[in-house]
Amino acid sequence: MAVFASVLDLIGETPIVDVSSLSPNPNVRILAKLEGRNPGGSVKDRIARSLIEAAERDGLLIPGAPDQVLIEPSSGNTGIGLAMVCKLKGYHLKVVLPTNVSPERIQLLQVWGAEIIESPGSEGSNGAVRMARQLAEEHPEWVFLYQYANPANPDAHYRTTGPEIFRDVPDITHFVAGLGTSGTLMGVGRYLKEQNPAIQLWAIEPPAGEMVDGLRNLDDGYIPPVFTDNHGAELLDRKTVVRPRESLEWTRKMIDVGLFVGISSGAIMAGAVRCASQIPEGESATIVTIACDDGWKYLSTGAWTDDLDEVVERAKRIIYF
């Protein structure tokens, strides 16, 4: 094995494992790219490094200079990835975090030295975005990377995740991933379609649930600029909701193939299985999915061990995607 100069050099080049025993269709292979292998524990390490390196190139951040502050809204993994990169580079990170995330996410942010600013859980990620934008306006001296609009987010996936997938699985027919900021789907999707326009892109969403009930009117709605800037509506082939019960059921089933992954990975696997079941008879397909992170951060939810009905109710109240 090579010796790496920095933990940051360990980001990316994640393994892909065949989990076709979970496929409902014998002609459809399902492969999972294990992003939990990144040093900060999730796919978001890729964009964390990309966002900060882009800011350094643009002169917004100066390596080694004192008292540099960043602010970012995140329900977890981006914040954790950024906090790890900031720790290594000596920047101070403030994360605007909805109150209804798992305690492990909060602790991990603290482990890496991030400062947490709480936003109302009832407003979900939208509320965190709104609060971070407002704070960034009030403090122009803070660097606001804004993962929802920053081209360095999809660019990380266009440069790394997409090429890794196509190199390892050149016969890929479908890519199934979660839709949050849309960075993964826009970056990987754009790269894959350039290699082979026939590759189908499926976006998996969690149900909007209670955060929608917190909206006062439709104009509180929000489409990430990363999605519109990359013509997401034209790029994607399918967008489908996976509900908490199905997400948790598949999170548990992934244990059978040796994968202890987070709940959003279960949701995405449920979407991949739905995709596999819709491949017409006589056709074959190779689906690549993303397992965004490992299960450790979700142990406190009881996702694997408690009564499923109870966990489903709990999952409706926390942000797990």
């Binding site: 939208n126 929802y148 929608v212 009930d213 909206l215 509180d220 489908t240 959003s264």
Partner: protein, 93 residues
């Protein structure tokens, strides 16, 4: 062939508080037109001026976003479940 539509809290003032309503139609466009014919207050919330879906509205038939399954021409059948949801920033790690 009635199709049930789940109305989100933010739009319920326009349906007299009803959380779920049912209409006939063979496409999602027909069903939504029947909905706004009875509840005209929803017209500007569901559709934009050019008759397309409002950009901050997502319509799902059995959990599939209709923008990717044929738009307003997406076929619907008896027992299908339609949800109207405002666009929000996913879970977004």
């Amino acid at each position: 062939m009635p199709v049930s539509i789940r109305i989100p809290t933010v739009l319920r003032p326009q349906t007299g508080g009803a959380a779920s309503v049912s209409y006939d139609g063979s496409t999602i466009g027909e069903v939504l037109n029947a909905l706004v014919a009875e509840h005209p207050g929803l017209a500007g919330q569901v559709f934009s001026g050019d008759g397309q879906l409002h950009k901050f509205v997502n319509i799902y038939v059995n959990d599939d976003d209709v923008r990717y399954t044929g738009g307003l021409d997406t076929p619907v059948k008896d027992q299908d479940e339609v949800s109207i949801l405002p666009a929000v920033a996913g879970g977004a790690n």
